[in-house]
Symmetry: C2
DNA sequence: CCCGATATGCCAAACGATTTGCACTTGATG
DNA sequence: CATCAAGTGCAAATCGTTTGGCATATCGGG
C-alpha cells in the first residue's frame, strides 16, 4: 500500500501551503523580524496541521547553535547525581533549552566531550569526579562553554565552578558530634585528590582534632571495608564521620555484623542526604543537589552568551559555594559512658 | 590579544593540510571507499594534530542519521530508572551509538518527542509511566523508531516492548508469604492503569486469594498513607505486599511509628530491589533493570534499521518478558501465632 | 491626494559534510 | 606490451534552515 514512506514536511512545503515564502515561515518561528498577526496565525495553523518541526541539524548548521546543552555525569545510579540532573533540567527548561544527560563511559570517557566539539550541544555542565579527565576538561574549556559542578578542579580558575560548602558541612558534623560528647572519631574520607572530600575532613577536624582519617572510594563497600579495618586494628573511637551516605551505609552494615549498637555504642554520620539516608534514619549533611544543578546551568547559559559575543573573559572565576544543612536523625547520640 | 576566536578546522582544511582531497578525508572517516593505508595514516595524523571532529549537524543533514539515540525517563531520581539507563548506555556503546537521556518535563511533556521529530536523535527508548503520553507515543511510533520499556501499553501491539515478568514476580511474592504461613495479606498496588502493577497483583492473589488490595502511587508517601488507612480501618492482615520498594519503605515507616515489629508481627515485601532495599534489608523481587535497558536498546537498533530499509513491518510485535528473582532479606518471617 | 516611514515579503547565498560519476595515475598481471 | 584493478582527485549536487539585501504594500500626516 503505502510503500511511500510518509515524509516529514519541509519548511518550503509549509510555506507553499500557507501561501507565503520560507522567509516568512522562518520569521514566524524565530520572531527575528516582525510578522503580521494575521499571517503568523495562518502559518501557525498550517504548522500545527502538518505537525511540522524544523530539522534541528539544519538550524544548527547554519547558525552554530541548537538550543541543547549536555550534562555529563559519572554515574546516574548515584542518586545524588540524579538530583543534580533534575536541577539542571529545571533551569534549562526555564531558559527554553533542552538538556541531554550522558554518563561518562568507562571505555570511551572522552566520547561525551565530542558532543560539544561536534556541535551537537552548545555547552556542557560537567560533574567532576573522574580525575583522569580533568586536564581534558580544562583544555576544552578554553574553546567551548564548560561549567564544573560538585567538585573544584585544581588549576581551573578560569572555569566557572559551583560546589557545596564542604568545609562548613564538615564543621557542622564536627560540632554535632563534639556537642554529644564525642572526642575520638573515625573519619572515613573520599579519594585524596578530591577537593570536596578534603574540605569535609578539614571541617570535621577543626572540632575533633584527634580524629583518625582513613581514605577510600565513596561507595558502601569502601565504608564496610574501612570500618572492618578499623575494628580489626582495635582502634578506639566512639563515632564515625563518613564522607558520603553510601560509605556510612557500608559502615552501618559492618557495625551491625559486629553487634555494635547504633547510636548506643557508636554514632555515625554521612554526607549528601540521599534517599537512603532518610530510609535508614542516617544523620547526615544535606547538599543542595537540585540547587547545584540549577546554578550550574545558569552559569553555563551565561558562559555560552559570553563566548558567543566574543567578550573579554575574566582571568579567573570565583568558585560559587552552596549552603549545606545538618540533618539529625537516629544514628547519632550522646557518647556512651561505661 | 586573541580577539580572533580559534575556529574549529573544517574538513576542507584538513584535506589541504594533508595534501589530499575532501573526498579522501571523508572516505578515511567513513570507510565507504577503500583508501590506501599510507594515505589513511597521513590523514589520521592531521586529524589528530588539529583535533578535528566533523560537525555532526552537517552529516545528519546530509544523510538523515547521526548515530545518537535518546532514552526518555519519567524521573531519573528513581534509582530503578537510572539502572535501566545504564543498561541502555552499555548496549548503545557496544553498537557505536551515543545515548542521551531526557527526563520528561512536567511543563513540556512532549518536548522530548520532538528530539526524534526534529532529527536530533535517530530513535528513542521510552520508559513508559505517564499514561497521558501513551497516545502520542503510539502515534509517533508509526513514523519513527520507538521502543517501550518497563511497561506494556494497551493498544500498542506494533511497538516493540520489553518488560519484567511482573506476573511471575507477583507469584514469587505470594508463594514466599504463603509458605511462611500467611493467609491474610494487604496488597499495595500501583496506579490501576499500569499493566505492570496489575500483573503483580494478579500474581500475588493466585497464592493469596483473600488479599485486600489498595491502590496508590509508587512513592513512599503513598505506601505510608495506605498502611495508615488500613491500620485505621482495623483490617486484619499479617503481611503487606507492596508494588514497589518505595511503597514498602513508606509502609515500614508507618509500622515503626505504630510500634509494629517487622518481621515479628508483620511481614513486608517490596518490588524492584533498588539500592534502598539492600540498605534496609527489604525482602523484594529483583527486576533486571540493566538487562532491560540493554534489550530495549538492542530492539531499538533493530527497529531503526528496519524502518530505514523500508521493509514491511510485522503487524504485531510480541512483548519480551525478562526474568525476575525473589530476594529474601529481613522483613519477612513466619506468621506470628498468638 | 501625495510622500515618506514603516511593515512585510521574496530571493538567493551561505552553513559543512557526503556522495556520485568520471577521469586519471599507478603498479601488478598475463 | 596490453590490460586490469585499486587508489585518488575533481566538480557538483544535496540536506533544510537562516538571514541580509532588496522590492513592495500599507498607513498616517500634510
Amino acid at each position: 500500500m503505502d510503500a511511500q514512506r510518509k515524509r516529514r514536511p519541509t519548511m518550503q512545503q509549509i510555506a507553499r501551503i500557507a501561501g507565503v515564502s520560507v522567509t516568512t515561515v522562518s520569521h514566524v518561528l524565530s520572531g527575528n523580524r516582525p510578522v503580521s498577526p494575521r499571517t503568523a496565525e495562518r502559518v501557525n495553523a498550517v504548522i500545527q496541521r502538518y505537525d511540522y518541526v524544523p530539522v534541528s541539524a539544519a538550524r544548527r548548521l547554519k547558525n552554530g547553535r541548537g538550543g541543547l546543552i549536555a550534562l555529563v555525569v559519572p554515574d546516574l545510579t548515584i542518586s545524588y547525581f540524579a538530583h543534580v540532573a533534575k536541577g539542571v533540567e529545571r533551569a534549562a527548561e526555564a531558559a527554553g533549552l533542552g538538556v541531554i544527560i550522558c554518563s561518562v563511559s568507562v571505555n570511551a570517557p572522552r566520547r561525551h566531550l565530542d558532543l560539544v566539539r561536534e556541535g551537537t550541544v552548545d555547552g556542557i555542565v560537567h560533574l567532576a569526579y573522574n580525575q583522569q579527565l580533568d586536564r581534558e576538561i580544562v583544555a576544552l574549556s578554553a574553546d567551548y562553554p564548560v561549567v564544573i559542578a560538585d567538585e573544584e578542579l585544581p588549576d581551573a580558575t578560569r572555569i566557572p565552578t559551583v560546589t557545596a560548602d564542604n568545609l562548613h558541612g564538615g564543621r557542622l558534623i564536627g560540632e554535632h558530634l563534639a556537642a554529644l560528647g564525642h572526642r575520638r572519631a573515625l573519619v572515613i574520607a573520599g579519594p585524596e585528590a578530591l577537593a570536596s572530600s578534603s574540605q569535609r575532613v578539614v571541617g570535621v577536624r577543626e572540632l575533633l582534632p584527634k580524629a583518625l582519617v582513613l581514605r577510600g572510594e565513596f561507595s558502601a563497600d569502601a565504608g564496610y571495608r574501612l570500618v572492618d579495618e578499623a575494628l580489626g586494628s582495635g582502634l578506639g573511637f566512639t563515632c564515625i564521620a563518613a564522607a558520603s551516605d553510601d560509605q556510612a551505609l557500608g559502615a552501618l552494615r559492618r557495625l551491625r555484623e559486629a553487634g555494635v549498637d547504633v547510636p548506643g555504642d557508636m554514632s555515625i554520620t554521612g554526607f549528601d542526604d540521599g534517599a537512603v539516608a532518610d530510609a535508614v534514619g542516617l544523620t547526615t549533611v544535606r547538599q543542595p543537589a537540585i540547587d547545584m544543578g540549577v546554578r550550574a546551568c545558569e552559569l553555563l547559559i551565561e558562559r555560552i552568551q559570553d563566548m558567543n559575543s566574543a567578550a573579554e573573559r575574566p582571568a579567573s572565576t570565583p568558585v560559587e559555594l552552596l549552603p549545606v544543612e545538618l540533618i539529625v536523625r537516629r544514628t547519632t547520640g550522646p557518647v556512651s559512658t561505661p
